[in-house]
């Protein structure tokens, strides 16, 4: 029942004439903030919304960008050793696509390329000593994507946007435990007759919260105090252990 309320709200919004004219797509998240707390093992969010007129939908979620190093191993004296490395500039730390049917069936390749929809269309740029290369070496690019897929940060399952009616839709977005903190953008593209009709964007914040946030913050901002504190905790714990078991 609780899940129905957002849909009812949207239905209501759609029936109001001025709102309906203003937007082709209306979207919202069950929660715009993901908090990483002590028990965090990843989370599922529900993205739901409504379209004014039926069509095909693609949802693209991108995590905060960061530079990633890709290293290639080679066998040296019988042991696998990291040899060549390449830095990729501003790689989305999370990338997910969802749609109501396979992309090829309703999107032409030019649109997919322009909007960077689909892993092959992601604009991943390598840089050497600060300068961007015109094209990243294919092997390294594939290696980067493969690694991010393996740890669950890049996902493309192109069939899990569910239309509940002509207008109402929803999709489940999975954020694993190793998700990075920052601002995520969620874009929804509406296609009709193989043409892009309209888009909608919303933001999601992933943050550390509570003890987790405090520990992380202390470690990075006051690292000397953190180190000293870690030693003090260990000394006290060691002493306490000795005292406890001597009595017992």
């Amino acid at each position: 029942m609780r899940q129905l309320i957002p849909f009812l709200t949207i239905l209501l919004a759609l029936t109001l004439p001025d709102r309906a004219q203003a937007r082709d797509i209306t979207i919202d998240l069950t929660d715009p903030i993901v908090s990483i707390t002590t028990g965090f093992t990843g989370t599922d969010l529900l993205l739901y919304g409504a379209v004014k007129q039926a069509g095909d939908l693609v949802v693209v979620v991108r995590g905060p960008a960061r530079d990633e190093v890709v290293r290639r191993k080679e066998k040296v004296l019988g042991v696998w050793v990291n040899r060549d490395e390449l830095v990729f500039d501003k790689v989305p730390s999370y990338y997910r696509i969802a749609s109501n049917r396979p992309l090829k069936e309703f999107m032409n390749p030019e649109d997919a390329d322009r909007l960077q929809i689909g892993l092959p269309n992601l604009d991943l740029r390598a840089k050497v000593s600060g300068k961007l290369l015109p094209e990243a070496p294919y092997d390294f690019r594939e290696g980067l994507i493969r690694n991010l897929q393996r740890i669950g940060l890049y996902m493309t399952k192109p069939d899990n946007v569910v239309f509940l009616s002509e207008q109402l839709f929803r999709t489940r977005l999975r954020f694993p435990a190793n998700v990075s903190v920052g601002t995520f953008t969620i874009e929804v593209y509406l296609f009709r007759d193989n043409k892009l009709q309209s888009t909608a964007t919303t933001l999601l914040t992933v943050r550390k919260f509570g003890v987790e946030a405090q520990v992380y913050d202390l470690a990075h901002r006051y690292s000397l105090a953190y180190g000293v504190l870690a030693v003090i905790i260990a000394v006290v714990a060691g002493w306490a252990a000795n005292a406890a078991f001597r009595k017992g």
Partner: protein
């Protein structure tokens, strides 16, 4: 119960980590060893990044050594002067070690160096222990007298110092050198280094066995404390939450281990420990030699 580790930035099963702490604690109580050289590889096997495993384990060893040294201190089994000289060397060695660790991390080679160090040391120590315990088991009935230590060129070094409690008059450079070497290992491998220091103290310095363990524990506290602080400052890789779970498990395990240890013969114990060490070593070697799942790996830039 799953728990999110704030520094490792991953979710682990708290009971599994606690169990690992207790298991290694049990072994360390049983065999009278620190356990760092087993704990760090185990953490790496569970998927904790090696850099975090090494730095966090140093933090845990501080606690284990404090709780161990108190008992030895009461019995007067700590040679404070020797400990201080070792400590000076240890602080120098571990500081250099953390610097080296940071450089290797930037080059993307730290995981490899950690694993190679483990393979080298675990194989040497495991093999020596196995041979020694086999020999002891076979020669139990014969009583072979052994000299405490022999005089060689090492005793001609300058800066001689008198260590009353150890009944030694040797060059301060010797314990200093041992301290530097063990400090380096502590920083790079996330160990206390007792498994190198104890034999070095007995065979190289010629210290009486009664003060060896207490003195090495005394030195280990300060060296691992130094590593903890330096790793926190330069690499931000000490995970206090992880250290606390390990510590809790370790303390409890060690008590049971110590009680259980009284019932088994010493040489059989050492033989068993040698086999465990060699098994861990074999697994690490396999991981280095076997073709990896993916030739490409990723890491964050600027680390």
């Amino acid at each position: 119960m799953d728990i999110y580790l704030p520094i490792a930035e991953m979710s682990v099963n708290a009971f599994a980590i606690f169990g690992m702490g207790a298991g290694v604690g049990f072994l360390s109580g049983l065999f009278g060893v620190g356990g760092g050289f087993l704990m760090t590889p185990l953490l790496i096997f569970t998927g904790i990044p090696p850099a975090v495993a090494v730095a966090t384990e140093a933090n845990q060893i501080v606690a284990a050594s404090v709780s161990g040294v108190l008992a030895h201190w009461k019995r007067g089994n700590v040679d404070l002067k020797m400990g201080m000289v070792l400590l000076v060397g240890g602080v120098i060695g571990s500081s250099v070690g953390v610097w080296l660790f940071t450089v290797l991390r930037e080059l993307g080679q730290v995981d490899l160096v950690i694993k190679l160090c483990y393979v080298v040391f675990l194989s040497i120590i495991g093999f020596l222990m196995l041979v020694e315990s086999m020999r002891a088991i076979m020669a139990r009935k014969r009583d072979v007298p052994r000299r405490q230590h022999t005089h060689n060129w090492l005793h001609g070094l300058p800066f001689k110092m008198r260590f009353r409690r150890s009944r030694l008059y040797i060059s301060a450079l010797l314990p200093l050198g041992v301290g530097v070497f063990v400090g380096l290992l502590a920083a790079i491998m996330g160990v206390g280094g007792g498994f190198v220091m104890v034999p070095a103290m007995i065979y190289l310095l010629g210290m009486p066995t009664s003060v060896v363990v207490g003195t090495s524990l005394f030195q280990i506290i300060f060296v691992t404390a130094n590593v903890t602080v330096l790793q926190s400052v330069t690499n931000q890789t000490v995970d206090v939450v992880l250290a606390l779970i390990l510590l809790f498990g370790g303390v409890i395990g060690a008590q049971f281990g110590a009680r259980f240890g009284g019932r088994i013969r010493g040489e059989q114990l050492r033989g068993m420990l040698a086999l465990i060490v060699l098994a861990v070593c074999a697994k690490l070697t396999y991981d280095l030699v076997a073709t990896p799942v993916d030739l490409y790996s990723i890491g964050l830039a600027g680390h």
